[in-house]
C-alpha cells in the first residue's frame, strides 16, 4: 500500500502502475455524471453524436452535489453508489474512459471491460461530502442543466483522496479486504 499522486486525464502508463489498495491523491480535471447523465451519454454514443466532453483519458466521478451556497465552489460532494452505472460503463470504457470514482461493487462486465480497455475504478469515502468538497477548486455545469444535481460538471480537483478498488490486473479490494478480515472480530 502506498500513496500515489496522479493527474487527470490519465494515460495507460499511469494506469498500469496503479494497484488495488493503493491510496491516491487525484489532481486535474474530472467530470461528474450519475444515472440520468450516463443514460444520455450512452444514447449519444449509440447515435454516433458528439459527447459534451472528450471521453479519452478522462475520469468520471459519480456524484450529485448539494447546491452551493453563495461564495462556495461546490456543495457537499461525496460519491454515490456505482453499481447503478454498471449498465452504461462498459461502452464508455470502450470509448476511452480511463477512470471512475464512486463507492461500492462493480459488475463482472465492468471489471472485464476495465481489464480489456485498461481503466481503473477508484473508491472514495461515501458520506464524507464536506471533506471531499475541500479538494474541489472549481466546478462548472457543462451539460444537462435540467438534471439539477445530476447535471454533468467539469471539476478541477487538487489532491482528491481515493483508493484503487479495481486495477487492470483483476484486483478487487472489496474481495481482498473482506477475505483478510473475515472472522477477525473477537
Amino acid at each position: 500500500m502506498s500513496l500515489i499522486k496522479i493527474t487527470a486525464p490519465l494515460d495507460d502508463e499511469i494506469i498500469s502502475k496503479l494497484k488495488t489498495g493503493d491510496e491516491v491523491l487525484i489532481s486535474g480535471t474530472i467530470y461528474t455524471a450519475r444515472d440520468a447523465a450516463h443514460s444520455r451519454l450512452v444514447k449519444l454514443i449509440e447515435e454516433n453524436k458528439p459527447l459534451p466532453f472528450e471521453l479519452k483519458g478522462q475520469i468520471i466521478y459519480y456524484v450529485g452535489p448539494t447546491p452551493e451556497k453563495p461564495g462556495e465552489v461546490i456543495g457537499s460532494a461525496g460519491p454515490t453508489t456505482s453499481y447503478r452505472m454498471d449498465k452504461y460503463a462498459p461502452l464508455l470504457l470502450e470509448h476511452g474512459l480511463k477512470g471512475m470514482i464512486g463507492k461500492g461493487k462493480r459488475s463482472a462486465e465492468v471489471k472485464e471491460a476495465m481489464k480489456k480497455y485498461k481503466a481503473v475504478y477508484f473508491g472514495a469515502i461515501g458520506g464524507a461530502g464536506a471533506l471531499i468538497s475541500k479538494t474541489i477548486t472549481s466546478s462548472k455545469v457543462i451539460a444537462y442543466e435540467d438534471l439539477l444535481s445530476e447535471a454533468v460538471r467539469k471539476l478541477t480537483v487538487v489532491d482528491f483522496p481515493a483508493i484503487v478498488v479495481n486495477d487492470v490486473y483483476g484486483g478487487d479490494l472489496y474481495e481482498e479486504g473482506r477475505e483478510k478480515y473475515k472472522d477477525k472480530y473477537r
Binding site: T80, I125, G127, A130, Y181
Partner: protein
C-alpha cells in the same frame, strides 16, 4: 383542547432538517469514535478518521455531512388533546420540508419513479402517524439516503425459520450489501406485524440512540449475535476490509399472524441523521 399553529410545525420541521444535515448526533459520533479505536485494519482506521473529520468540517462550516441529504422521513406522535390550526399537519410538515431543503441548500432527491423527473423541492415527505394521550406533538425526523435504503430487504419468513432464520437473513442481507450502503452501518430490524408494518418497525428501530440497550432481553441477545456475525464478515469501513461493518443492530417486534413471520431489515449509513422535537 390545545391549539397549535401550522406555521409553528413547519418552522420546527425546517429547523430539524437544517440542523441534522450538518450536525452529526453525539451518539453517532461516539459510535464512530469507538469503531475507530476498535478497528484493526489500517485502511479502515483511515476511513473512520476521515469520517470523523468530515463531521467536524460539516459542523464548523455548516456544510451537509453528505451530499445525499435524503428523503425526509417523519414519525409523528400526536396527542389527542391538541389540534392544528391553519394547514393540516401533513401539509404543514411538507411545507417545513420544502423550506428546510431550500433554505438549507440541501439536495432535492425526490423524483417521479418512472420518468425520473425531479420534483424539485424534496416533497412529498414520508410521514407515519401514531395517536397518543396528552396535548403534545412529537416529531421525529430522519434524512434517509438512497444508497443505504437500496440495500434494505423484507422477507415473509416461515414461523419454523425461527430466530436462527432471522439471524441468517440479517447477516446474509448485509453480506450481499457489502460496501454499497456506506459501512459502518446501523441496522434496523422489524419482526412481526405484517408486510408493511415490519418495514415501518425496521425504520423506527433506527431512531433508538446508539449505545442504548434493548429493553427486551431476548431481542438484546439477538442484536448482539447479529452484530458480531456481521462484523465477522470482514467488509469493514467503506468495504475496504475490517471488523467495523456495523455500529449497531436495533430490533423491534410486534405480534403477527399465526401463519406469518414478516422480517424487514432497514440499512442506515454512518451519516445517521436523525433528530426529534416535542411541540
Amino acid at each position: 383542547m390545545r391549539i397549535i399553529k401550522s406555521e409553528e410545525i413547519s418552522n420546527a420541521v425546517k429547523n430539524l432538517i437544517i440542523h441534522s444535515s450538518v450536525n452529526l448526533s453525539d451518539d453517532t459520533y461516539n459510535g464512530l469514535k469507538t469503531a475507530f479505536e476498535q478497528e484493526i485494519s489500517e485502511q479502515g482506521k483511515t476511513v473512520l478518521s476521515k469520517i470523523l473529520l468530515n463531521a467536524e468540517i460539516a459542523k464548523n462550516e455548516s456544510k451537509p455531512l453528505c451530499q445525499d441529504t435524503g428523503l425526509a422521513v417523519f414519525f409523528v406522535e400526536m396527542g389527542k388533546d391538541v389540534t392544528v390550526e391553519g394547514k393540516n399537519i401533513t401539509n404543514a410538515i411538507n411545507e417545513g420540508t420544502r423550506l428546510g431543503y431550500s433554505e438549507g441548500f440541501l439536495r432535492k432527491s425526490t423524483c417521479d419513479p418512472l420518468s425520473r423527473k425531479n420534483i424539485g423541492d424534496n416533497t412529498p415527505a414520508i410521514i407515519h402517524y401514531e395517536f397518543t394521550d396528552g396535548e403534545k406533538i412529537k416529531i421525529m425526523y430522519a434524512a434517509k439516503g438512497g444508497g443505504s435504503e437500496n440495500m434494505s430487504a423484507l422477507k415473509m419468513m416461515r414461523p419454523s425459520d425461527g430466530k436462527d432464520g432471522i439471524i441468517d437473513f440479517a447477516v446474509e442481507t448485509m453480506r450481499s450489501a457489502g460496501p454499497n450502503p456506506c459501512p459502518p452501518n446501523i441496522v434496523g430490524i422489524g419482526i412481526g406485524g405484517n408486510f408493511e408494518r415490519s418495514a415501518i418497525l425496521a425504520k423506527k428501530s433506527l431512531f433508538r440512540k446508539l449505545g442504548e440497550p434493548n429493553a427486551d432481553s431476548e431481542l438484546a441477545e439477538m442484536e448482539k449475535i447479529i452484530f458480531e456475525k456481521i462484523n465477522n464478515i470482514g467488509t469493514g469501513p467503506m468495504g475496504f476490509g475490517g471488523i467495523c461493518t456495523v455500529l449497531a443492530v436495533h430490533i423491534t417486534k410486534e405480534p403477527c399472524h399465526i401463519a406469518s413471520m414478516p422480517v424487514a431489515l432497514n440499512v442506515e449509513c454512518h451519516s445517521h441523521r436523525h433528530s426529534e422535537i416535542i411541540l
